[in-house]
């Protein structure tokens, strides 16, 4: 009975605390000047620093999708331009955002949780509060803002690099010419596609940063607790990326 109660109440408790954290952070903000510097720093860490790894992963996703599409679809009856028609929309609709999301869940999520968790267990968060500062607003708001500002930028980067990777793989393996690839992509172009991808990346940016902030901010139990928060931040972010991906597809498509 107690175990069942625990199972039912625990998630509700977490959800409530998560909602409170966000509302407390965004409602009692002080002067923007206090947060501005922090926001710029965070944008650098979340966004600029992540570009290399995101580009690398995107290039490979594009290349692999191309090679596999070629392997599965191309026959004398199907024109090779179909490769472009499959690869580019996949990147725009799904891969660009999701691959970026997974990478950032590990990279940015773990970092945020470790940083805030360490600040919690070394009483730095208490110190901010004791000074009379809104620690949630000061620490969490810039990180979430950086996430929702920089994530779409990373998404666009991922799509562009991914298409480049796909094209390069196509040309290198000689399954389709550049012209055919682009023609396929254009014929199958969905006007709503990039919009959908951007909305997704925006949501993922929020999901990852807010969950990781939550995990880090409420860390308990010393160095071990920081380790726990860090892994949980990455894992739970990934789960919620998948969930929100599905929900957005159901709602928007």
């Amino acid at each position: 009975m107690a175990a069942l109660e625990q199972r039912l109440i625990r998630p509700l408790y977490s959800l409530g605390r998560y909602a409170l954290l966000l509302s407390k952070g965004f409602t009692s903000l002080g002067h923007f000047s206090v947060y501005r510097k922090n926001l710029i720093v965070q944008c650098g860490r979340v966004g600029i620093d992540s570009i290399p790894i995101v580009a690398l992963a995107a290039a490979f996703s594009g290349a692999v999708t191309t090679v596999q599409t070629a392997y599965q679809l191309v026959s004398p009856f199907i024109p090779p331009s179909v490769i472009g028609a499959v690869v580019v929309p996949s990147l725009i609709l799904e891969l660009g955002a999701v691959v970026t999301g997974f990478i950032l869940a590990g990279r940015v999520g773990a970092r945020i949780a470790a940083e805030l968790g360490t600040m919690r267990v070394t009483e730095q968060i208490d110190a901010l509060e004791a000074m009379g500062l809104n620690s949630i607003g000061y620490l969490i708001v810039p990180r979430i803002m950086a996430g929702i500002i920089m994530f779409p930028v990373l998404y666009v980067t991922a799509v562009l690099v991914g298409v480049g990777g796909g094209l390069a793989a196509a040309v290198a393996t000689d399954v389709v010419s550049t012209g055919e690839f682009i023609r396929g992509a254009r014929e199958n172009y969905l006007v709503f596609g990039p919009m959908f991808g951007l909305i997704k990346s925006f949501v993922f940016g929020f999901v990852i940063t807010s969950i990781s902030c939550y995990m880090g901010y409420y860390t308990e139990g010393g160095a071990e607790g920081v380790g726990r928060s860090t892994t949980q931040a990455a894992v739970i972010s990934c789960v919620y990326i998948l969930l929100s991906d599905l929900v957005l597809a159901l709602v928007l498509l």
């Binding site: 009692s28 600040m119 730095q124 208490d126 004791a130």
Partner: protein, 252 residues
């Protein structure tokens, strides 16, 4: 004046404080003593609303800090300077920026004024050449002194010290004790010192509050402490007098 009235606090069903009351007079230095894990830090955190009591209330200058908005609570907190047990310096900033942080955040000082003030605070704790160092490059004693400089940067009315001398060598402990005493005299502040270092208690405190087994076991001034016949208190005082300079007490 800070009044703690009948507060009780448990964590995960385990009582840490039961029905604890304490009054801190204006301008005095009050030491809170007790074994490690007896809830001294927990009590201190209640005084500035970092923890909320399960029962009872805390009054700061007559204001029940459990019943005011978060915004008002933050205003109340600005009258406090807190020295946390491990210093709690922001490790993303240099020592100088740590001390400058409250000044930059809460005053409209120019960068020159900030500089002057930070240097004065660092001077107060006998540190003038650590400014550019990161907390990770400082020794334990230096961290505590920088943290102390940060705590007094905005000239608080109340200063809370959580184990200011624990983990420090006797020489540095004496320096810190003198600083606490000096600040109490110079700035005319009310100080609360959480400690188990009896030497420190005897040299700086006016009054002593002893927490034992979740309760406020004994409260009185230094003279009363010397005369007290209370066996638990005597045992505690004696044990900690012997322990001075003993490494085992450093982290308790």
């Amino acid at each position: 004046m800070i009044c703690v009235e009948n507060i009780s606090k448990s964590f995960n069903g385990r009582a840490v404080l039961r029905d604890v009351s304490l009054e801190m007079q204006e301008g005095e230095t009050l030491a809170i003593i007790g074994r490690s894990g007896s809830g001294k830090s927990v009590l201190m955190k209640h005084a500035i609303g970092l923890l909320q009591p399960d029962k009872g209330r805390v009054l700061v200058d007559g204001i029940d800090i459990g019943r005011i908005s978060y915004r008002e609570l933050r205003t109340v907190r600005r009258q406090f300077g807190v020295l946390f047990q491990g210093g709690a310096l922001f490790d993303s900033m240099s020592a100088f920026d740590n001390v400058a942080f409250p000044i930059r955040t809460f005053t409209d000082s120019t960068e020159q004024q900030v500089r002057d003030r930070v240097l004065r605070c660092l001077d107060l704790v006998n540190l003038s050449d650590v400014g550019t160092k990161r907390p990770s490059e400082l020794s334990g004693g230096m961290i505590k002194r920088v943290a102390l400089a940060r705590a007094v940067a905005l000239e608080p009315r109340y200063i809370l010290y959580d184990e200011p001398t624990s983990g420090l060598d006797p020489h540095t402990s004496t320096t810190i004790n003198n600083l606490i005493k000096g600040l109490a005299d110079q700035l005319d502040v009310t100080s609360i010192v959480v400690t188990h270092d009896m030497r420190s208690v005897l040299s700086i405190a006016h009054r002593v509050a002893f927490i034992h087994r979740t309760r406020m076991h004994w409260v009185g001034d230094i003279d009363a402490l010397h005369r007290s016949e209370d066996r638990t208190l005597r045992a505690f005082v004696k044990a900690n007098e012997y322990a001075i300079g003993h490494p085992a007490q450093a982290y308790s």
